[in-house]
Structure formats: structure tokens, C-alpha cells
Subunit: 212 residues, 2 copies
DNA sequence: TTAAAAATACACCGAAAGGGTTATTGACTT
DNA sequence: AAGTCAATAACCCTTTCGGTGTATTTTTAA
């Protein structure tokens, strides 16, 4: 075990970054980058044939994204650890990745030495994350169970309308219930989406009434 | 800001450890241990009078434990960060502490240098955790996002697609995830709506996973 | 009393959702 | 061998949704 190399695969669409990572990994004792892939489809097709310790996965890929790719690969590669390596540091991406099975999450601005350390850490059972990422994860735990604080920002009218949304009412139906115009309903909903940082009805409901 | 010291208080019942931590903090430039307390009751009584950056809190204390102490102190000290510093590495203690408002969680076997680094990290907005701790946190998240109970009228494929619907995915996003055409996704969804006797996504979700 | 937030409304626009229909393939049943 | 079902895919069509603006009124707060 001691002398064996940690085998690494990389999924990254930007050639410069992909090659830089490959060189980094291959140039370090104890690591070996055996395969690299430029997109999710290629990775899905070829990666399961190899027994890999650690996958460095970019999120922003053409076509299927890195999170979807990982989700598809996970059941095929039960002994492989996945680490997201991306420029995204927003909550949605972080939580989505971690809930989908990533064990580590680092940002591309992480230093080469730290990337290698993170790979080793991951392989040894750790969950390497930068501390900004860790803080967000911790915050998310603290906010579990209670209706998210963003919901508190909603006005009474907005909450009322959100409630209709949750029951599947159409804009015009809500308008009829409240004796206001459909346009006003739309405006309220637009404001709700702004406050909750979402784009669709379903996302808003998931955020507002987060189920366990 | 650069020249200012990070003020630290310590709550720890074992005198040897308490004094070792105090010496460590006071002997390092950029840090100052202004107060130490031997139990939760003393800390609760005296600590809120001081403006402290970081509290190192032991969990196992005589009487009230460190988690309860932190919960009581938090509302009184909104600008203070709490770091649990304990021998417990079991899930219950970790989650309880983090959900109760701790921003960092380190084990007592952490090296002196790493403790100092963790204090600085915490003060700068990070969430220092050893990677074993991080891994446990991540695992707990992964077990939260599991699929709800199935509607047995639906085929496997339909259930799968319903699950994507519940997460707010667009048709084309589902199509990309499943490697099928958007039209097929639409057809499946149409069949789902038929079986559930509904017309919209939200109604389907209400029917499938009935929430209040 | 002045400023702000909240609620109301409308117009233009493109994207997305959903209804209806038809068709091909493979798998399982009878 | 015929029939059913599930999964796949495409077509046309209308409605709904959501973004980006602007604007008026009312309420609330400073």
C-alpha cells in the first residue's frame, strides 16, 4: 500500500487546465494520472473500464455537466472518490455536488500543492474542502429544519402568493382568488424569485419548504 | 486590522489542557487569550461582558455541557465565533455542535500549529474542520437528499423522471441527464400527468409526495 | 413631511410547458 | 403469432411562465 500510486482521472473541457492538472499529478511522486477526458459523455463511456482511485471533475462541461456525470458514474465505480474542481463557489453548486456524491470540493484557484494534498486526503478517507466551502456547508446544516431565512424576507402578500403557488395554482387562478390582475401576481412572483434566488416555481417551493 | 490581535476565550475543565491552550495562544503573535473558564456556568456568567472574537469550547464539561453553553451564549454574543475543541469524534456530537451554531470543530489531538491556524481561519470566516470531521458532515448531507416514496402506478422510468421534476429540472435538463430527447421526456411526463390525473408539475408533486 | 417599501397594473418578448397525435422498437405475455 | 406495454422520438399547436421594463397608488417608517 505504502509504495503504490494513487491513480487519478481528470474530466475537464479546457485543454490548458486539463493538461496542467495532468502534468501536476504525473510530476508528483505517489500520484499517477492515467486518463483524462474532455467531456462528460466521453468520461461516461470510457471511465468505468478503468479502476481509478480519484476523479477530478469539472462542473462546467459542454453537454452534461460534471455533477450529472458523477451521478451516472458513481454506481459504476463504487471504489472511486470524486472531487469537484471548479470555479463555482455558490451554494447551489456546492450542495448539489456534495449531495450527489462528491466527497471533496475544491476551487480551481487552489494551489498545486494543495490540490495534491487534497487528492491524498480524499483517497485516505477525508473530505477536502477549502474553509470557505466548509463554512457554507456548516451554515447549511444550521439552517436545516427551519424555514430558510430567505423566506422571512417575504412580505405577507408574497407569502400568501407562495402558498397558492405550492398548491399548483396558475397565475390567473391566483389572480381570481385575490381579486388582482394576473400581471400583479406575476410581479409578486418575480419578486419572490428574486428574494429566494431561484428561477422557477419548483425551485422556490424547494427552498421555501425544504423537506428533510 | 493587520496588527490587531485575535481575542480568544477558552472553556475547558481540565486545568492542564486549559493552561496549555492559554500558553499556546498567548505565546503566539497575533493572538491573545483574554479569559479562561473552567465550566459552562462560569462562562455563561462572565463571558458576555467581554467582546471576544473566538471561543474554544470543550464539550465534556461538569454540569452543563459545551454545546448547551454555546447555545446560551450565541444570542448574547453575535460577533463571536465558536469552535468546539474536544475528544469526541462521533456523529452525534459533531452534528449537534454544528447545528447548534459552532462554526469550527477540531479534535484535541490537533497539533498546536493547526489549532492556531484553525483559530485564524475561523476568525476570517472559514470553518476549520479536520477532514475526518468534514467527511462525516458530507456523508450526512448525502443521506438527506434521498428519493421519496414511489407512486406504484408509475413505471421505473416515470418515477425517475418525476424525481427530476421535483428538483425543478427543465425538460431539456432531464433529457441531458438521461441521454434521451426532450420530446421523450415530455411524453413520459404527459403519461405521468395522465396517471396522476393532474395537469401541472406542482400538482403532480403534491400528489406524489403529499406534503401539508 | 418626506422617503421608503409594498401592492397594484400593463406592455413586449422569448422560452418553457403541456395537449394532441402518430410511429418505431424491444420485451414480455398469452 | 398476436397483442400489450414501456420506452423512445417527432410533429404541430396553444397556453403559461418568467425576464425586463415602466408607472401609479397606498402604506409605513423615518
Amino acid at each position: 500500500m505504502k509504495g503504490e500510486k494513487i491513480t487519478v482521472s481528470i474530466v475537464e473541457d479546457i485543454e490548458d487546465i486539463r493538461e496542467a492538472l495532468r502534468v501536476l499529478v504525473n510530476g508528483s511522486t505517489g500520484f499517477e494520472c492515467t486518463h483524462v477526458y474532455a467531456d462528460a459523455e466521453e468520461a461516461l463511456d470510457k471511465m468505468p473500464a478503468n479502476d481509478i482511485d480519484v476523479v477530478l471533475m469539472d462542473i462546467n462541461l459542454p453537454g452534461m455537466d460534471g455533477i450529472g456525470c458523477m451521478k451516472a458514474l458513481k454506481p459504476l465505480m463504487p471504489n472511486t472518490q470524486f472531487m469537484m474542481c471548479t470555479v463555482y463557489d455558490d451554494d447551489d453548486h456546492i450542495f448539489n455536488a456534495l449531495q450527489s456524491g462528491a466527497s471533496g470540493y475544491i476551487l480551481k484557484r487552489t494551489s498545486p500543492a494543495q490540490i495534491l494534498e487534497a487528492i491524498r486526503d480524499l483517497h485516505e478517507g477525508g473530505s477536502p474542502m477549502s474553509s470557505e466551502i466548509a463554512r457554507r456547508v456548516v451554515f447549511s446544516m444550521q439552517n436545516k429544519g427551519k424555514t430558510s431565512e430567505a423566506v422571512e424576507l417575504l412580505t405577507d402578500r408574497e407569502t400568501e402568493i407562495l402558498d397558492f403557488l405550492s398548491k399548483g395554482y396558475l397565475y390567473k387562478e391566483i389572480a381570481a382568488e385575490l381579486f388582482i390582475s394576473k400581471e400583479t401576481v406575476k410581479k409578486h412572483i418575480h419578486n419572490i424569485y428574486d428574494k429566494l434566488h431561484v428561477q422557477t416555481r419548483t425551485e422556490a417551493l424547494n427552498k421555501a419548504y425544504q423537506r428533510k
